[in-house]
């Protein structure tokens, strides 16, 4: 008689009291499990070094993605974990950092430019070109109408106070530098970022 034992039953038997090693000596052995030939899920992933985007500890993270950027292939980030080489975080992530994948793939991520017209109750999808063109028009109209060359005392001030901007403290230095250069080039002064609050 051949007794067929699955892996689960095999371990259950062991847990019931008899040492599994002695069971194996008696001729019992579990069937090979299908799972045993399944590859580690990160094998073959492209690993990219990054930093957590939340607080200011700047923990190192490793981002795992499928795909090789081939033109008709969709790269897909499917795992994020701590970078063990990082001298501050040494591979650790907190509950926020451990959930980074959910942020990257959140249902709330925006995918297209949209506009909500005055008085409307809905979003409407528009092209980037239309968005840039309409925003630039608004900004120029306001700047031309309200730019102050001289103040009431006759001082040259060359500032624009009627359109303002908030920059983002989770954006990169490169984005921030580019943003700052443009904002001051336009003469903007009502300009801040989260460091103000």
């Amino acid at each position: 008689m051949t007794l067929r034992v699955s892996r689960r039953q095999f371990f259950k038997l062991g847990a019931a009291g008899m040492a599994t090693s002695s069971m194996a000596m008696m001729g019992f052995a579990p069937e090979p499990a299908v799972a045993s030939i399944r590859h580690f899920k990160l094998t073959g992933a492209k690993i990219t070094r990054s930093n957590c985007t939340y607080c200011s500890v700047g923990c190192g993270v490793l981002i795992y993605a499928r795909g090789d950027a081939a033109i008709n292939n969709v790269d897909d980030i499917y795992h994020v974990e701590g970078d063990p080489d990082h001298p501050v975080s040494r591979g650790s992530l907190c509950p926020k950092g451990a959930g980074l994948l959910d942020y990257i793939r959140s249902d709330s991520r925006l995918r297209y430019p949209q506009v909500r017209e005055a008085g409307s109750n809905q979003w409407q999808r528009i092209s980037w070109d239309e968005a840039f063109t309409r925003i630039a028009r608004h900004m120029k109209d306001d700047r031309d109408a309200n730019f102050v060359t001289q103040d009431d005392e006759g001082n040259t001030v060359n500032h624009w106070t009627t359109t303002g901007m908030l920059a983002a403290s989770a954006s990169t230095n490169e984005t921030a530098y580019c943003t700052h250069k443009i904002a001051r080039g336009l003469g903007m002064v009502a300009f801040d970022n989260q460091a103000r609050v």
């Binding site: 607080c55 993605a65 501050v88 008085g119 001030v157 403290s169 921030a176 530098y177 002064v189």
Partner: protein, 808 residues
Amino acid sequence: MTNHWVDIRNADLIIGMGGNPAEAHPVGFRWVMEAREHNDARLVVVDPRFTRTAAVADYFAEIRTGTDIAFLGGLIHYLIESGRFQRDYVLAYTDASLIVREEFGFEDGLFTGYDADSGEYEMESWQYEYDDEGHALRDETLEHPRCVFQLMRQHFSRYTLDVVSSVCGTPRDKIQHVWDMAAETAAPDKTMTFLYALGWTQHSIGSQIIRTAAMVQLLLGNMGMRGGGVNALRGHSNIQGLTDLGLLSDQLPGYLTLPDADEQEYEDFILERARPPLVPGEVSYWRYYERFHVSLMKAWYGDAASEDNDWCYDWLPKMGEDLYDILHTFERMHQGEITGYLCQGFNPLAAFPHKAKVTEALSRLKFLVVIDPLRTETAEFWMNHGEYHDVDPAAIDTEVFRLPTTAFAEEDGTIVNSSRWLQWFWQAGPPPGEAKPDTAILAGIFLRLQRLYQEEGGAFPDPILNLHWPYRRPEEPTPEELAREYNGWALEDVFDENRNLVVRAGEQLEDFGFLRADGSTACGCWIFAGCWTEAGNQMIRRDNSDPYGTGQTLGWAWSWPGNRRILYNRASARPDGTPWAATKAVVWWDGERWVGNDVPDFPEDSTPGMTQGPFLMNQTGRGQLFARDRMNEGPFPEHYEPFETPIASNPLHPDSPLAKNNPAARVFPQDRENFGTFEEFPHAATSYRLTEHFHYWTMHNRLNAITQPEKFVEIGEALARELGIEKGDRVRVSSKRGHIDAVAVVTKRIRSLQVAGHTVHQVGIPLHWGFLGETRKAHLTNTLTPSVGDANTQTPEYKSFLVRVDKL
């Protein structure tokens, strides 16, 4: 941070005050635990709540929110009167010996020079006494009645143990115990670090709280030392970088500033900022201000910036107000004076105080542009979200654009962590849909504006038409191009004072020492010079070795300034150049130059005999116990009550109404009308974040939503008993400005306090949850908070305000 995350492990005492790092910076907090386990360090927490940091602390002391100056001012008093400060350090490295003008004084809670009508100070009397050469007079015995040391001693003499206990509501024995532990670090071989965050900044007296801590550290000789410092645990991943790059209304990159309207002459503008030493022979590094400024203008305007046009001086916008901060801007927006607003990765409807005012203000805009990876409450401010945000879209005429950006995983670039490390990261995948990087969005808008000005002309087009835009693909500057630009490069050959060629035209600069004021160098942010040199991108470096075992890891990423890891590290050595203690050594004089386990934050060849001070950015070369002209409410910190205080007067000045709250704070009339009184709103509230959430973003993440799904508030058992509230009941928390509903967490972790003879209950309100995302819908916490800010920074007073709690 003056020091850095890993350096916390070198501390002997860690005071967590105005922050909750175990919860808000959990992975950085590991270095606190490392210090406790391997350096025999103790952790002390002083906080209104028994936080998760307190839960692993060696000692906890409760305190009333907004009274930290009293607690630390009392510590200064105690250190001076008991003689438990590091006298040699104080004498050599601070301005304690400098003599202040006779006119200076302090009476009824006000310093000299106060104008009650304008609510501002004339700072003329807050000056040192100078000799004919403009150098400050000194008394090295520290006995002169007007030397900084004696004035400071006199100022804080009122901060006795009884007074501090009465103001803070902290039991006397606990205060004394914390003070004693701090005093032990006056020993040269002991260091204490302060870890603080928004719990110190978000008060109407926030800047002065931090200054008080800095003064304590100077008295104890803990600045520039391993395991010392005043360490700001910044709130966002690159808020340090955005501060360094000066994206603030009055700033330019590298802590340079915009001119005021009355600074019409370029020479005067530079002279005001390029400050000479006030003590003979000091470095006073800001004296080179013009090099940094001219190099910035060359980076921004290229060939158009020349000596003939004062490097485009008139192209820089000049300040018509002290500050166009967010409170000022939303006040103007509320009055209908603002046409358009751009929000890049910022959610002001949720993040700014007094949400009802913010909603009305946004409704008066002609256009709003929201640039964000996620849906935000701000972008949907016009949409009715029922009881949580009840507006009528038909009545709101603001045109709103919502532009999708890449998130961190979908772009290259650097962020600066609290340790001032610039760390480069790489794109791991494509963004969703049509989302673009911010740089492409900003460039897209800018290039269209530029074309409109070319075609149509318009108001002052020169800076727009001439903005230096050398990028290979103008519609999308790359992070590499922008990083090389803010590092800086030579436009022409650069020579040293002996006419030796030091940098060839076209080469990247090694450090800010090569910057010139003659237009031969360009540099977008002088303090970042050295991050991308001829040797390449230094920010990608990944050598984590630590050969000295000090935790400095000089080969990991790149730290500003000049890869220094501990600021002012010259102060880690005695005036003669030997370390105060072998266990705390950072840099030392080896007979020819400064060497050590960090990059010396000092001229490498400045011999100890030159007696130059370690605080080389200051005109005195010394740590400033006396703030002279840099703080709007006075050269010494003074305790003032929050604008919404649970007690009737300032216990330090009960008969001086002007000194009840910060006399130099700016309050708009309508905002003042919206302050509540303790008769109507009796409980002191404070807001904070949780470890499971990051502001309003993680509302959109399923895992985070599962771990903390619903809005709650924390109230102490005594208050709960008084109000008949049980754990889990729903409560309404109201302020003068609105209400929120939430689940009540009744806890032992918030105790009632005895303040100036009254019982004060404190209420804890997490700032998370809104009406979007995966968590249960909720009112935004900032419905409750008041619209008033710190007198220097205008950072809103989110941490101390008044509420009433009712059971629903």
